[in-house]
Symmetry: C2
Subunit: 335 residues, 2 copies
């Protein structure tokens, strides 16, 4: 049905190999160029990627594997990866593993079997072996959001530690001494980093780290809600709270509003990730913003580089800065 390179050859009177050469950017005489171009237009010719793939063993396809498609932060990144890859003609096979380590392994294997040309992965802790296998097989792999110790692999990270450090520091500077944190699951790399930043800044300023001010949530709305209530229900409640992801920030906001806690008078607050949310809450929320677009684009660019067999700088560790937006949700305490 569809026109093939053969048809173009027939139409132009040139040989198949000349057409192929032209298609791949080789030198062809000007009049022939024109002719071929004309043929392509009139016959509506499209390269058969499968035939090409069979010859070149490239699929022009990239696999993206994330923990969940129901998390805005992840899918936003995917969105930018996809746009960036598309510019170079790659399509993106997206999978999620529903936060399940077994599924992660299965899907990674699936992508690998599909012979994708490269993979972008947001790994859970633990499956390091499969990752090593992928790398050993020479399939370009870019990790996002998590570093795997002792494994050489390109990775795009956010400087979570300093993100927390800077955020909490602003609270300290404004006189806060009892600062609560709603942290993420203890086995998640980024959550650990964010917690580390919190602890380090307290220590740097000579403040005691009070375990009762550290709450571990599961990055869902509900735990943000519950943990914020726990914090303010403490016998010695914090004067400020720092929440470390988007969903839990929503939950916290709802808890705060429902209990008529005034921000920043009763409680100072720093949230995470979503600018829209921060803007509409009154007073405007202070917030740590992750460079979602930059993360996606960088991951895609690093991968594209590897796909072009450019191995310079391997392994490339890109650490992106977060942005701290200070707005009206922080009160300056008298000291």
């Amino acid at each position: 049905m569809a026109a093939t390179i053969k048809d173009i050859a027939k139409y132009t009177g040139l040989s198949i190999s000349t057409i192929s050469k032209y298609l791949n950017g080789g030198n062809v005489l000007e009049p022939n160029k024109q002719l071929i171009e004309e043929a392509i237009q009139t016959l509506d010719f499209k390269v058969n990627e499968m035939a090409r793939g069979l010859r070149t063993s490239r699929t022009m396809t990239v696999g993206v594997l994330i923990p969940s498609l129901k998390n805005i932060f992840f899918t936003s990144i995917v969105s930018h990866i996809e746009s960036e890859l598309l510019k170079e003609g790659y399509s993106t096979i997206v999978c999620d593993f529903k936060e399940d380590p077994d599924l992660e392994e299965k899907k990674l294997q699936f992508l690998f079997d599909k012979m994708v040309d490269g993979i972008v992965l947001m790994p859970l802790p633990g499956n390091d072996n499969l990752i090593k296998k992928i790398i050993a097989q020479q399939t370009p792999l870019v990790l996002i959001d998590r570093l795997i110790p002792n494994v050489d692999c390109d990775v795009v990270l956010v400087d979570n530690l300093n993100a927390s450090y800077n955020a909490v520091e602003q609270l300290i500077i404004r006189g806060h001494r009892r600062i609560g944190i709603i942290a993420g699951p203890q086995n998640i790399y980024t959550a650990q980093e964010r917690l580390k930043g919190y602890i380090r800044v307290l220590e740097d300023y000579g403040l005691k780290v009070d375990p009762s001010l550290i709450k571990h949530g599961d990055y869902q709305i509900e735990s943000g809600y519950n943990l914020l209530l726990e914090l303010i229900g403490d016998e010695q409640p914090p004067t400020a709270v720092y929440v470390t992801n988007y969903e839990m920030t929503i939950g916290s906001i709802i808890a705060i509003n429902e209990n008529n806690i005034r921000i920043p008078d009763d409680l100072s607050f720093i949230g995470f990730d979503n600018q829209d949310l921060a803007r509409i809450v009154k007073p405007a929320l202070s917030i740590v913003v992750q460079p979602v677009q930059k993360i996606g684009e960088t991951a895609a660019q690093v991968l594209l580089k590897r796909l072009k067999k450019d191995q310079r700088g391997f392994p490339l560790v890109t650490r992106l800065k977060t942005q701290l937006l200070i707005r009206d949700s922080i009160k300056k305490l008298e000291s």
Copy 2:
């Protein structure tokens, strides 16, 4: 590098065509079966999908195109589509078009050029021509969430009209007469339907439809926030509000809480889409829940059916019921 069917043939002493037959479920003598299976294991053989695709002109790949990857409702559906398709060995190429009609057309063309075996699309209004072209080309296509008039195409819908009807009816039954709606963009099919349901139930109960109670948002958090404030700022504010998507529900909740509006005493409320959110808000929100999983699975199943050349019942219009969860956010008014 990787083992091919040829290697299996050599290992087993059988011919290539026999191996192929086995791989595709043909009959092979029991001892040979064993032998082949053994060879596959030891040589770690995987079918080269590209070679297969070249022969069969099937890519075992499905394209999914949604308006935005930053919308939880869309990505949740994608998640379920992906799982369902994977069961049958299909991989899912996900694209979004960032709510841009031009981009929608480009990406649809891209998927088509990639020779995906089928497409699942959540269309914006307007691009009906391209859709017709896809259908004409015999590529199986399943639409989600929107019906296109005068085009025969499988489609999975939610009964938005009755969703609204039933929700608002509950408000009416409980004595509400001034009921506000925060509706979606006027050019979006589902938004129109939801608004229609609202209007119809009012008419059925002989209530006047007051245009000042109908607000059109853009399905984003911020507009939910702003429009709720508009509604309650009305000189004759509604006693109940019905909000028609997730993001705007969040926005409304924030507005409500910030302004110390008590639910349900000052205002009765019905939201949309997210059960988590509904559960944690106090008092528990009444809510319209879309069957996200069902939508995704159904779309995938219909597509799989078409991919198997099963054209029975074409065009298949599946209209799924929403669920109405009545909880504590609705007050019974004295009549």
